[in-house]
């Protein structure tokens, strides 16, 4: 069974190749058969391997070397897969949620001209993402890393005829590539230090090579963080994600919520040994996470576009994961990744269904009253929203976020600031989440429903809604039950977080305050957007600058525009004709000028020649006399 591991990424790649080659010639029926089928079989194999994996007593590590990629003078990364509990969680999420989103897309995209192209890109994405998390060395990981970046670019710009989609796509690719450059330099350093890019070897050698806080280790950790920050849309490279919403909704669900954007979280977790040896870098991870979660949370409060709220919310939730990584709560971060994948995919898919039902209306203020018209969407969206807002006890989001809050407070590397930020983030999350719910589904109907989603859209939503609720119960906090299936599953691989020594039994207080804040946030949203809808408009007109500032994501775009984009474009524009060519042209001009001068003397007029001869003779005679 374990020998089938290679099929998991290979099948989506194969599906993609078939769809690219045969694309337009396939019928509307056979496209999803290949596109959805390939990921479906991958998911099935994942379940089988996962079953084997869990049922064996000692969690095995499956290695599969497919072929030697490059072998030059000791630089010898191979195309090799490595499956352990961490990658198992990831491939489960990727294939399973990927499959659901593929099913959804088979209905969602059916009327699009690029139906086959869409599935080709989507399959390519799933394959690359699987390579990323299964890679046994960093170069192969980088392969997947860039591959998903390409697919993200292709899918954001899927509707290529719109100029602005192309812009958003390029922005995403270029900004993540900035982070990737840092990561690539990190790989050069790692190779120079360890003589290998194999992840297991690095993990074994790093503690021997470096003591805690060693400069080299810290620089490498920062460079890897650069890559992670780009892919996971964290400060300062977060601005591409809101624009990435130009892509079709299933793309936002799969790539920009559930999987690709968590690649940074995966990378840091995978290289946690390096980060543990570099406390400064790890602390910065936490700081970036906490600042990002606040910044994005505030921006989410002001958005009009339903998908942009979700985008900022994704940035914010990724901030939570980074915060968790920063305090060394490795398994808590991965747990939140999984739960977030469930509910955020659900929210995006439901939002896509809403937008489709309203004939491409994105503005929440033009929606409303959809509760009755779209009951399935409403209920599933509500469940997802509850999970995002972490409503206590009944939602999975509560359990995953609670763990992060607790460890930000009680973990050895945690501190009161991290905790307070996370706590206030919880409140903001609840407010913007339910703002979204109330604006979209409550109140009076403002737009007409033109399209009722069918079962290929509804069924994935229902499955994800169930997961967003039940998945939380596999990991219960100390205060009730202390049932830690997930942490135990990851434990030998990811060390448990050490707690501060004197902290005891405050966990229930934290849970209560978090619960109170998320309920409070929900109620505030209810008050502002259902009870007294005039209030938020008043606020908006009272401080328009602040509102616009938040609406435009704290104006990071303008800043980057001025600092990077404009100078680059200006520099390129003034030198379009390549000033290096000037000296050469000058040489040519001088030569032809002299040529013209001499040509002028050869006029064919005898008088001039005679004068020349006479003048020459006089000159020579004068010289002869003088010397």
């Amino acid at each position: 069974m374990n020998d089938l591991l290679w099929l998991i990424p290979a099948l989506p790649f194969l599906g993609s190749i078939i769809l690219i080659l045969a694309g337009t010639r396939l019928s509307k029926k056979s496209v999803p058969l290949i596109g959805v089928g390939s990921v479906g079989v991958s998911a099935l194999i994942t379940l089988l391997i996962g079953y084997d994996f869990i049922s064996s007593d000692t969690p095995p590590v499956i290695k599969q070397v497919l072929w030697n990629w490059i072998d030059v003078a000791g630089f010898s990364p191979s195309i090799a897969l490595h499956l352990d509990s961490l990658s198992l969680v990831f491939i489960f999420v990727i294939t399973f949620i990927g499959f659901l989103i593929h099913v959804y897309s088979s209905e969602f995209m059916v009327d699009d001209d690029g139906y086959a192209r869409f599935f080709a890109y989507l399959n390519l994405f799933v394959g690359s993402m699987l390579i990323l998390v299964l890679a046994d060395n960093l170069l192969l990981l980088y392969f997947g890393w860039e591959g998903v970046g390409l697919c993200s670019y292709l899918l954001i710009g899927f509707w290529y005829q719109e100029e602005k989609n192309g812009y958003a796509a390029r922005k995403a690719f270029i900004m993540t590539r900035v982070g990737d450059t840092a990561m690539a330099i990190g790989l050069f350093m790692i190779f120079k230090t360890f003589g290998t890019l194999n992840i297991t070897d690095i993990q074994l050698q790093a503690p021997v090579m470096w003591e805690i806080g060693a400069t080299e280790g810290t620089i490498i950790a920062f460079l890897l963080l650069g890559g992670a920050v780009g892919k996971s849309a964290q400060l300062p490279l977060q601005t591409w994600l809101p624009d990435a919403m130009a892509g079709p909704s299933p793309v936002s669900a799969l790539i920009h919520a559930a999987t690709m954007v968590t690649a940074g979280v995966y990378l840091i977790t995978r290289m946690h040994v390096v980060f543990e040896l570099a406390p400064t870098a790890q602390f910065v991870v936490g700081v970036i996470g906490s600042v990002t979660l606040l910044i994005a949370g505030f921006s989410a409060l002001t958005q009009y576009d339903l998908k942009r709220v979700l985008a900022y919310s994704t940035i914010s939730q990724l901030g939570y994961m980074f915060l968790a990584l920063g305090v060394g709560a490795w398994s808590a971060a991965i747990f939140h990744f999984m739960i977030h994948a469930f509910f955020k995919a659900l929210l995006f898919l439901a939002a896509g269904a809403v937008i489709m039902a309203l004939h491409h209306e994105h503005d929440m203020f033009k929606m409303g009253g959809l509760r009755k018209k779209l009951p399935v969407i409403y209920w599933t969206f509500l469940i997802g929203a509850a999970s995002l807002a972490a409503l206590p006890l009944i939602t999975a989001g509560f359990f995953s976020k609670d763990q992060i809050l607790w460890l930000a407070w009680a973990g050895e590397k945690g501190n009161v600031w991290f905790f307070l930020v996370a706590l206030s983030g919880a409140f903001i999350t609840a407010v913007y989440t339910f703002r979204m719910v109330f604006l979209t589904f409550f109140g009076e109907e403002k737009s007409h429903v033109t399209h009722i989603p069918g079962s290929f859209i509804n069924i994935p939503l229902i499955i994800l809604a169930i997961l967003s609720t039940l998945a939380g119960f596999i990991e219960l906090p100390h205060s009730f039950g202390h049932f830690q299936l997930f942490t135990n599953f990851l434990n030998p691989l990811l060390p448990a977080t050490t707690l501060q020594s004197e902290i005891e039994s405050t966990e229930w207080m934290i849970q209560v305050s978090a619960a109170a804040l998320s309920i409070g946030g929900t109620l505030l949203a209810y008050y502002l957007y259902v009870k007294r809808p005039s209030l938020h408009a008043q606020f908006k007109s009272a401080v328009p600058q602040l509102h616009n500032f938040l609406l435009h994501g704290w104006r990071f775009d303008s800043l980057y525009d001025w600092v990077f984009v404009k100078p680059f474009v200006y520099l390129a524009a003034i030198n379009k004709n390549d000033f290096v060519d000037w000296p050469y042209n000058a040489l040519v001009n001088v030569a032809s000028f002299i040529h013209r001068m001499f040509a002028f003397t050869q006029s064919g007029i005898l008088r001039w020649y005679l004068i020349g001869v006479v003048l020459g003779a006089i000159l020579i005679l004068t010289l002869g006399l003088m010397l």
């Binding site: 990629w69 100029e163 192309g166 690719f173 270029i174 590539r177 190779f191 390129a572 290096v580 060519d581």
Partner: protein, 513 residues
């Protein structure tokens, strides 16, 4: 014998094609296609045999030597090692494509065209094989003159200017090389009493360091103008954009590579100390070229000119790699020579295909071509991705190896070169956006590719992916040659990295067996 056969067959094939064109144009095309394909076939067989054979002691696979002008020590000496073998593969591969791509494009003077094309290929083949410096210079000129005619006769609107510029730049720098060759010849004769142009004998020359620096600069001039390196690159955008498609393909794919080949074959082994001495400058200028070329590429509106500047950018990696003096970087350089030849050639072919349909190279007048030409769009996507160094395609292997190797030599410059990858992303995506995305701009009917064009594209795409996923056969082929070039027999550590300072002390000469 096979080696001279390659060159002779091109020369004879060229004359035959010219004569055949008097009667039948299609026949002329077929003659040149068959000539190139036959040679390609032979060299593939040679390669497969070489890969199957055990790793022999000598890096040299074939050797062919005849006295030519014995009085002056000039021999007709050709030899083939792994590096030359790869270069021949590339030459014949791109040669075949350039015949195919000219099939419809060239309609006047067809016979002369194929004559020039095949003679350029003959010259390039000779450059990659000649192991006699006089012969090398001879072939260096042979490839120049037919290329000049290719540009001037079949080029675009401003082809006279471009052709003369190309000719003068190359000729002037070639002259410096000739002086350096003669200098080396006399220095060697002074020391040993034998007058010879033979590469292997000259390798043993013990040149006084003052003279060596000047001689090295003479060689270097020719190679860095061909490569090209900033500030000697300005012939390239003009020549590339004005040449016919096959001309651009050969210029970018092959002629630039003769510069890189020269660096590896002559500069590094003949003048090691001097090369080490100028290495920081050479690397810096290469890295500057990476960034400078990328920024210029971004601002161009002429598609072929844009691609030409990307070549300037990519060739910076060659300078960076060659002057890092280690196995990883040098192997990266060899990969870069091949993959850049293919990917940039592919972009020129793409520009040519578009030009045939809309008769402009101006990207501001393009847009939305994906809709009518999805096949070309998919290929263009892959070539653009190759150009920005996406893993899975050959260029990634090349550039990553160069960078990993260069990191052992210099940190700062490697960092700047890596930032060049972002710049590459910016201009590559701009190509895609302007040509294939956006609203459809051209109103005339754009036919997607014909069978012949599809064939060319598929071959290019497959070879790029193959090089990206399975680069090892190529790397294995070049390893012995690179070993010889770097002399990494004793003084390398396990990473194959060496401190250039050590080389200068432990310098050993090797002799030809």
């Amino acid at each position: 014998m096979i080696l001279s056969g390659f060159i002779l067959s091109f020369m004879i094939g060229g004359i035959l094609a010219w004569m055949a064109a008097l009667k039948n144009l299609v026949l002329a095309r077929w003659i040149s296609l068959i000539t190139v394909c036959f040679n390609l076939f032979i060299v593939i067989i040679l390669w497969v045999q070489h890969l199957q054979g055990d790793e022999s002691q000598s890096a040299w696979i074939l050797d062919f030597s005849l006295p030519w002008i014995p009085r002056f020590g000039i021999g007709f000496h050709l030899a083939l090692d792994g590096l030359s073998l790869l270069m021949l593969l590339l030459t014949f591969f791109l040669g075949a494509l350039s015949v195919l791509i000219s099939w419809k494009e060239i309609q006047h003077q067809v016979g002369l065209y194929h004559f020039c094309l095949l003679w350029v290929l003959a010259g390039i083949t000779g450059v990659f094989l000649a192991m006699d410096l006089f012969l090398f210079f001879f072939f260096w000129e042979v490839m120049l003159i037919p290329m000049f005619f290719l540009i001037i006769i079949w080029g675009h609107e401003n082809s006279r200017y471009a052709a003369f510029k190309f000719f003068i730049f190359t000729q002037a720098s070639g002259l410096l090389m000739l002086v350096a060759i003669l200098g080396l010849y006399f220095v060697h004769a002074n020391q040993t009493g034998t007058f010879t142009f033979d590469y292997f004998q000259l390798l043993g020359a013990d040149i006084p360091s003052g003279a060596a620096m000047w001689l090295m600069l003479g060689f270097l001039a020719a190679f860095i103008v061909k490569l090209p390196v900033i500030p000697f690159h300005t012939w390239l955008p003009d020549a590339h954009s004005q040449a016919p498609t096959a001309g651009s393909l050969i210029l970018a794919g092959l002629l630039l590579k003769t510069g890189a080949y020269g660096l590896l074959r002559f500069i590094v082994p003949l003048f090691r100390d001097q090369a080490v001495a100028i290495a920081p400058w050479a690397m810096a200028i290469g890295v500057f070229g990476i960034i400078y070329g990328a920024i210029l590429a971004f601002s161009q509106t002429d598609l072929k000119r844009l691609v030409a500047y990307t070549s300037v950018s990519h060739m910076g990696f060659i300078m960076l790699g060659v002057f890092s003096f280690n196995m990883i970087a040098t192997q990266g350089v060899v990969m870069q020579m091949i993959t850049h030849g293919i990917s940039t050639g592919a972009l020129f072919i793409l520009a040519g295909i578009i030009y045939e349909r809309i008769h402009t190279r101006d990207i501001t007048r393009m847009g939305g071509f994906w809709k009518s030409m999805p096949f070309l769009g998919t290929c263009g996507l892959i070539f653009a991705m190759a150009s920005l160094g996406l893993p899975g395609l050959g260029n990634f292997v090349a550039e990553f190896l160069v960078l990993v190797g260069a990191w052992q030599a210099t940190h700062k410059l490697t960092i700047i070169a890596t930032i060049g990858l972002v710049a590459a992303t910016i201009y590559s995506l701009r190509i895609l956006q302007k040509v294939f995305y956006g609203n459809q701009s051209a109103t005339h009917g754009l036919a997607d590719l014909s069978f012949r064009e599809k064939l060319v594209m598929i071959v290019l795409v497959v070879s790029l992916i193959w090089l990206g996923l399975f680069p090892q056969p190529v790397l294995n082929t070049s390893r012995p040659s690179v070993n010889v070039i770097l002399e990494t027999t004793a003084s390398s550590d396990e990473n194959g990295t060496r401190n250039p300072k050590i080389i200068t002390i432990k310098q050993k000469r090797y002799t030809h067996e």
